[in-house]
């Protein structure tokens, strides 16, 4: 039985190695995840870095009324700009992120103990200005606290009387779990590679075969249909595995060679051992994805239809993954049992350097393999129907 499956497998591999499109999809799906990840890390890293180190550019109206405040701001990395002509309009159109307006009687009020007013003109609807606004607010708050403390001291009162409750936040996130927040999208890229890596081959060897009229003569050969399906499935599994391996190696290179701490601040480390574990946890998904593709391609009318279905497929496992990125959940057994979702949870645990229960790994592996086997049996059934010649 395995002789003929092997012959079909060899032919499909040779045939598709000569197919530029199949190779291009495999390569693209392999490198896309790591490439997008690198880009994301660089962009996030750069923006955070730039906005913090750059002096805050702050146009001030009425700077002459509060020389002390201006002095304080300058000492705290603020570049004071001359007042704009129409502060409100210019903030609205985005010429400035934030403008400070100091009222004429600022000094007078300050001296006589009346609250002295300053205004921050901001546009709350613009995301990009949030960081600048926050910085300005925080600086003004600090100036406020300083003056208040000085006033209390001159009156012989300890400033700590104004702090009945002191809130201290203790961040328990390890450097690994901080990085994992960024890496939370990685499991999804792995699934992406798994669901797209062998797609072109799966479609080409099944509905493509029918479209080119080579299916009918093939079926006349003395080969059990089971062996035909298994040979084609094995070829798909090979291409998909290569795609998965390529993605993991690219991620490994990304995390170990590229100096990511320069971009993100935290060290992103994902050792070879972790990647090997991720590989074996992902392997059952390769069988699952390949079997799904063979089944879809078997009853699609033509390759276009098959490709349309299959391109949407990787979006389905993406949904729980996206949810996961925002709401961290503690994995329970029933979640682990859901193919692709379970893998995402386990991969996340490995990346956070959390302990992974062997029971959960086995449950995920066996459940996914079981479904892959059932789908393979369904594919063989579909190939036994006479409609396989015509599609659907």
């Amino acid at each position: 039985m395995f002789d003929q499956m092997w012959i079909v497998f060899q032919k499909e591999v040779l045939d598709n190695l000569r197919d530029r499109r199949a190779l291009a999809t495999t390569l693209l799906s392999t490198l896309m995840g790591p490439a997008i990840m690198l880009l994301l890390l660089m962009v996030i890293g750069r923006t955070v870095e730039q906005q913090i180190e750059k002096p805050l550019e702050l146009p001030v109206v009425g700077a002459e009324y509060a020389p002390n405040l201006i002095q304080f701001l300058k000492q705290n990395n603020v570049e004071i700009l001359p007042p704009p002509d129409d502060p409100e309009e210019q903030v609205r159109v985005g010429d400035f992120e934030v403008v400070l307006v100091i009222s004429r009687n600022f000094g007078e009020n300050l001296q006589s103990g009346i609250p002295a007013t300053v205004q921050l003109i901001v546009d709350d609807s613009r995301q990009s200005s949030a960081l600048d606004v926050k910085r300005a607010e925080r600086l003004l708050q600090r100036y406020n606290d300083q003056i208040a403390a000085l006033r209390l001291i001159t009156r012989g009162v300890s400033p700590s009387i104004l702090l009945p409750v002191l809130v201290e936040t203790i961040d328990v996130a390890t450097p690994q779990s901080q990085a994992a927040q960024l890496l939370g999208i990685m499991p999804y890229f792995i699934i992406f590679a798994v669901f797209l890596g062998g797609m072109q081959l799966a479609v080409d060897t099944t509905s493509g075969e029918r479209e080119r009229n080579s299916l009918e003569p093939l079926l006349i050969n003395p080969v059990p249909r089971r062996d035909l399906v298994l040979g084609k499935l094995a070829a798909t599994v090979l291409f998909t595995t290569v795609s998965l391996l390529g993605t993991l190696i690219a991620f490994a290179l990304l995390f170990n060679l590229v100096p990511l701490e320069d971009f993100v601040g935290t060290r992103v480390s994902l050792g070879v051992a972790a990647l090997v574990r991720i590989f074996f946890i992902s392997l059952p998904m390769v069988g699952l994805a390949s079997a799904i593709q063979i089944v879809f391609a078997a009853f699609s009318r033509n390759t276009k239809e098959a490709q349309a279905y299959l391109s949407f497929l990787p979006l389905i496992p993406a949904l729980p993954g996206m949810f996961l990125a925002f709401v961290p959940v503690k994995p329970t057994l029933w979640m682990i049992l859901i193919p692709t979702f379970g893998q995402q949870l386990l991969i996340n645990q490995i990346m956070r350097a959390e302990p992974v229960l062997p029971l959960n790994v086995w449950a995920s592996v066996l459940m996914t393999l079981l479904i892959a086997v059932l789908l393979t049996i369904l594919a063989i059934r579909l190939y036994h129907r006479e409609q396989i010649l015509f599609g659907r």
């Binding site: 045939d15 000569r18 080579s214 009918e216 006349i220 050969n221 080969v223 059990p224 010649l389």
Partner: protein, 243 residues
């Protein structure tokens, strides 16, 4: 040896075959003549195991095409109407794939392929990828891979469809050679010329039923027409769908 008993087959509401029975003997060329849509391809597809009859049996060397498909497949070589090749494989690789699926390998297989390449005069393009081949070249590759395991029964669905004059002549020579080798050759056609020129026995099929069967002489005698083509037209009731 091919035998077909009382085949019925429907596709939805269309009754493609309504009780078709015939036989094709070894060492003879048997022609299945009928207009387009008469049931020729459906009959052949049941014989070569890709369709199952609703009723009736199709036997090849005594094996049932429905219940023992692998035994039947080992004993037939088929040129289906639509015979696609693998465009990224060379002509030789296309033939080799089918040879291997039939259990041939190594030296014996390579020798057989070389023999077919010579027989069909394919030396020039044997090691080129089949993408861009002419119809004639394609048919040569397709028939070669169908014959690579030296089958005792050969089924050809419209074998000269789309061929130029030279290729048609070559095809006819091959068919005659197979008869000399004692094979059972069954081919379908809607071209009267071809059937008259080649066949030892003719089976005329129309609207899913066999309407006449016999040697060319018997068919002439039955209808009283000297000209075989006139005889066909009379048997079928019209010349529509024939050439």
């Amino acid at each position: 040896m091919i035998q077909v008993f009382d085949l019925h087959k429907s596709f939805g509401k269309v009754r493609a075959l309504k009780g078709v029975s015939f036989a094709a003997q070894n060492g003879l060329i048997t022609g299945l003549l009928g207009p387009n849509g008469a049931g020729k391809t459906t009959s052949l597809r049941i014989l070569y195991t890709v369709l199952r009859p609703d009723q009736g049996r199709a036997l090849v060397d005594g094996f049932d095409a429905t219940t023992q498909p692998l035994e039947v497949q080992k004993r037939i070589g088929v040129l289906p109407d639509a015979s696609g090749l693998y465009s990224r494989l060379t002509a030789r690789e296309n033939i080799r794939y089918y040879g291997r699926l039939h259990g041939l390998h190594g030296e014996a297989l390579e020798r057989k392929i070389e023999q077919l390449i010579k027989l069909f005069d394919m030396q020039e393009f044997a090691d080129r990828r089949t993408e861009g081949f002419s119809t004639g070249q394609r048919v040569k590759v397709a028939i070669s891979r169908a014959l690579v395991h030296d089958p005792p029964n050969v089924l050809l669905d419209e074998p000269t469809h789309g061929l130029d004059v030279m290729s048609t002549r070559a095809m006819r020579q091959v068919i005659r050679r197979m008869r000399e080798e004692g094979k059972c050759v069954l081919f379908s056609s809607h071209i009267m010329q071809e059937v008259s020129a080649l066949c030892d026995r003719i089976i005329v099929i129309a609207r899913g039923e066999i309407v006449a069967e016999g040697t060319p002489d018997e068919l002439r005698a039955r209808t009283g027409h000297e000209n075989l083509e006139d005889a066909f037209v009379e048997i079928i009731g019209s010349g529509e769908g024939l050439e």
